[in-house]
């Protein structure tokens, strides 16, 4: 990352258009904190890429003045992986929805953390498919009644942080869209972390989720200090995530220094691939080895 010439503020990451989310939507908080974290983290618009899938939360790139991509439902992670390969100097934030990233995108989610690319995945976790009008998402608790499961869902819910941990994520946190300072700080740490980070963001959908409301979260969350991770080992962290808690614990659950994917690929050592000259590549060795 190059250091910006001047100090930027959240405003420098704003676009003129106003977000189209429902008034009160938790996504506003995520947008605000992300812009703040980008500014405070010293990132620059042109060296940052926000990649999303499709969903309410996934509209976010429209309103961050960086490079951005609203890709396909469930495919933000592989798309962003390609961006990273092209230019591993970029700060890449992948914004997935709970339906997007943990429903249709589950295969990519799981395999992504096995690689430990230096990227930050944040999940707008609202328990519903917001943009398609409120069907049951994979993080919705068993028994949830929505238009797609009018008699109550029969599936157990997906625990994103526990799953990311099991697959090898090297930074895992859970936070809450309305906890602006906590969210901002966690996003900063996640982006600063070298390796694959996962941030699960509890995000009230005021329109379709009548269970996990602001009131509910305000009464049922427990914030942990952000100086050190809650757990010291990966196994502890998995246990922590899978153990029921009185209050939903927020904070940095686990963090680990480990070689990134980029570290293991010498091709990256010469600098971003996108800067390489390709005008006249000499392939004679390829041919000679076959003669």
């Amino acid at each position: 990352m190059t250091t910006p010439e001047t100090t930027l503020t959240a405003k420098d990451f704003s676009t003129p258009n106003a977000p189209s989310w429902c008034p009160g939507c938790g996504d506003f908080g995520i947008l605000t904190s992300l812009k703040k974290a980008l500014a405070e983290g010293g990132y620059e618009p042109h060296n940052t890429v926000v990649v999303s899938g499709i969903g309410c939360g996934s509209l976010l790139p429209y309103w961050v003045k960086t490079y951005g991509a609203c890709t396909l439902h469930g495919r933000a992670i592989p798309f962003a992986t390609g961006v990273k390969v092209a230019n591993h100097d970029l700060n890449i934030v992948v914004n997935i929805g709970d339906g997007d990233g943990l429903g249709i995108g589950m295969g990519h989610f799981v395999h992504f953390f096995r690689r430990n690319f230096d990227m930050t995945v944040i999940c707008d976790n609202n328990g519903v498919y917001g943009l398609t009008k409120g069907q049951t998402s994979p993080t919705a608790k068993k028994g949830t009644k929505t238009s797609s499961t009018p008699f109550g869902s029969i599936e157990d819910y997906v625990n994103g942080p526990a799953l990311a941990l099991q697959m090898g994520a090297t930074f895992v946190a859970r936070t809450y869209s309305a906890d602006s300072p906590g969210l901002t700080e966690i996003l900063k740490q996640a982006m600063a972390h070298r390796g694959a980070a996962f941030v699960d963001i509890l995000q009230p959908c005021v329109t379709f989720n009548k269970q996990e409301t602001y009131e509910f979260y305000n009464a049922n969350i427990a914030k942990n200090p952000l100086e050190t991770p809650i757990c010291e080992t990966r196994l502890d962290a998995i246990n922590f995530c899978l153990t029921p808690h009185e209050q939903i614990p927020l904070g940095i659950i686990y963090k680990e220094d480990a070689p990134t994917y980029e570290d293991s690929v010498p091709q990256f050592a010469k600098g971003a691939l996108r800067h390489q000259d390709i005008t006249n590549i000499d392939a004679s060795a390829f041919m000679h080895s076959r003669s």
């Binding site: 042109h46 490079y67 970029l90 996108r274 005008t279």
Partner: protein, 574 residues
């Protein structure tokens, strides 16, 4: 033209393909032109596979199904191929392993009994029976061992001197056995020239095209017969600073490639039909986002898993129409090794120039076929990266998707200051923001569609070979067999003109019509059941063929068969 034709048959795992490959390489080193062709079943060991080598003093057009020499590694291979041996030819088999009492051999063919297994064991490696057979073959062909010895060195050097030694011994054992026990010789009197050449498969040629085009990233998921593009490039990754990721599936692979294309490097994915089917949604993404990406599909016969190890040409329509909605894309089909190199490089150019997905179709026959190639095969490749900018003058007004006469807009990629924008799969404004109103939608739909027009304009006209009033339309790897057929027919007094469509979609209607303006009949040859190219042709020109030749059984067409089919039809006309 004199030509050596050898077939080796046996179970998968018996080194069938390496016999063919090493013979082809040896012939190449001796200055001949060789090609291979192989058929194997969907098993890792066992079953019946066979591979052939065809060598001559001039480039060999296409494989054929009759041979001078059959190397039979099992009884089944004798039964299946004995009648394909020409009079004057020979059959090599292991007389200590295979009982042939119940086999009726064709007349005029020499039966060369060589105790392959025993000689191999004596040489020190039971597995080297195929090398013994190669030695025997060389002797029957009245050929020297030198080139083959050097080939064995090349192949086995990384396993150490001792292994090379054993293989040399095995080779010599077979060679000597024939010299001492069998008098018959097949004398083709071929003389190689002094030019140095190399041997590569169609998929290696595509990989070479990728390397020369400056590919930086290939994300792929294994699928026969596409996998060898990935594995060949993976091996070269550190030589050419390319990243190769074996992705979790084809959807990930293509989306990774698109992400990389968006971020400014040349990226591709390789697969076969089933994998490309899974890339359907992402093709439409690349179309809408205007991201360059190249997709290689080495076709095999469907439907569905179909015949995974055979050849076919039935994914053309899928390549043209996968993905929701209308969007510009380019579908290219390669006909031979040289086209594998050059059209691959062009695929990257078109992808970047028009900011579109490009689908390049090859097929198992060509993908796996090795051919002696000239070292200038990858010359004359120009890189055209299209409208890219590294500096934005007026960031406030930078329109990534600006309307333009040719439909192509100037493109910035992450890292370029002032070029920040959102690339989106939704309909959008020139800036890349969401757009739903009719005038804005119309602007973008029509801008993108203008790329179809400018691209069609820019594409080269279709290729023709020869002159004649009977025009034979082909695509893909039917090229070489068709050219071979043209020669055969010419010798019989029929002159046909071959029209090869390389760039199939968009369809360059005017140019095609010009090429077929003067004709008596229009004949289509295709490796699929429904006549996909015929349909495309009719859709664009309103002209339906006079005669259709289709082969959809999974085997490559031979020049002989094509010539026969065309002759039948032409004869019926008169």
């Amino acid at each position: 033209m004199d030509q050596i034709n050898i077939v080796v048959g046996g179970p998968a795992g018996a080194g069938i393909e390496s016999v063919a490959h090493s013979l082809a390489l040896a012939f190449t080193r001796e200055g001949l032109h060789a090609i291979t062709s192989s058929e194997y079943e969907n098993v890792i060991r066992g079953g019946h596979s066979f591979a052939s080598v065809h060598a001559a003093e001039k480039p060999v057009q296409s494989h054929q199904l009759h041979y001078d020499l059959l190397i039979a590694m099992d009884k089944n291979s004798i039964l299946l191929h004995k009648d394909e041996v020409d009079v004057g030819g020979a059959i090599i088999y292991d007389n200590e392993k295979i009982k042939v009492d119940d086999i009726e051999f064709p007349e005029g063919v020499v039966i060369a009994q060589v105790p392959l297994a025993r000689l191999a064991k004596e040489a020190g490696l039971a597995l080297a029976a195929n090398v013994v057979a190669v030695g025997a073959a060389l002797a029957i062909l009245d050929w020297k061992q030198d080139a083959m010895q050097s080939v064995l060195e090349t192949i086995f050097q990384r396993k150490g001197e001792e292994v090379v030694e054993i293989n040399h011994k095995a080779l010599a054992a077979g060679f000597t056995h024939v010299k001492e026990n069998i008098t018959h010789r097949i004398d083709k009197k071929l003389q190689g020239d002094e030019t140095k050449r190399f041997l590569m498969s169609g998929n290696e040629a595509i990989t070479l095209g990728c390397i020369r085009a400056g590919i930086k990233f290939l994300a792929a998921y294994p699928m026969t017969p596409g996998s060898t593009i990935m594995t060949t490039l993976a091996k070269e990754a550190r030589n050419y600073d390319v990243v190769v990721i074996h992705a979790e599936d084809e959807i990930a692979a293509v989306n990774m490639a698109i992400g990389a294309g968006y971020a400014g490097i040349r990226a591709a994915t390789s697969t076969s039909g089933g994998g490309m089917a899974l890339m359907s949604e992402a093709m439409s993404l690349a179309g809408q986002m205007e991201v360059p990406v190249v997709i290689f599909n080495a076709q095999r016969p469907g439907p569905s898993t179909g015949l995974p190890t055979r050849t076919g040409q039935a994914d053309l329509r899928m390549a043209m129409h996968s993905g929701q909605g209308d969007f510009p894309r380019l579908v290219v089909a390669v006909g031979d090794h040289e086209e594998c190199v050059h059209l691959t490089a062009e695929a990257f150019n078109y992808a970047e120039k028009y900011q579109i997905p490009v689908i390049l179709l090859t097929e198992k026959y060509l993908a796996d076929q090795h051919r002696s190639c000239e070292f200038d095969i990858a010359d004359n490749i120009a890189i055209n990266r299209g409208k890219r900018i590294d500096h934005v003058n007026d960031p406030e007004n930078f329109k990534r998707f600006a309307d333009s006469p040719d439909g192509v807009s100037v493109r910035s990629v992450p890292g370029v200051k002032g070029g920040e924008h959102t690339a989106t799969s939704y309909e959008h404004t020139e800036y890349g923001k969401a757009e739903e109103e009719v005038p804005g939608v119309a602007l973008m739909m029509e801008k993108r569609w203008r790329k179809v027009e400018s691209l069609t304009e820019a594409l080269p006209p279709p290729k023709t070979y020869g002159e004649g009033d009977d025009i034979v339309v082909i695509w893909g790897a039917t090229k070489n067999p068709a050219l071979g057929a043209q020669q055969i027919l010419h010798d019989k007094g029929f002159d046909i003109k071959i029209l090869q469509l390389q760039y199939i979609h968009p369809f360059k209607t005017e140019a095609v019509l010009e090429k077929i303006a003067q004709r008596r009949s229009l004949i289509f040859i295709e490796g699929n059941q429904s006549g996909q190219l015929e349909g495309i042709f009719a859709e664009n020109t309103g002209i339906r063929p006079d005669h259709s030749i289709r082969d959809y059984y999974g085997r490559p067409m031979t020049a002989e068969w094509i010539a026969e089919e065309i002759e039948k039809y032409l004869t019926s006309l008169t």
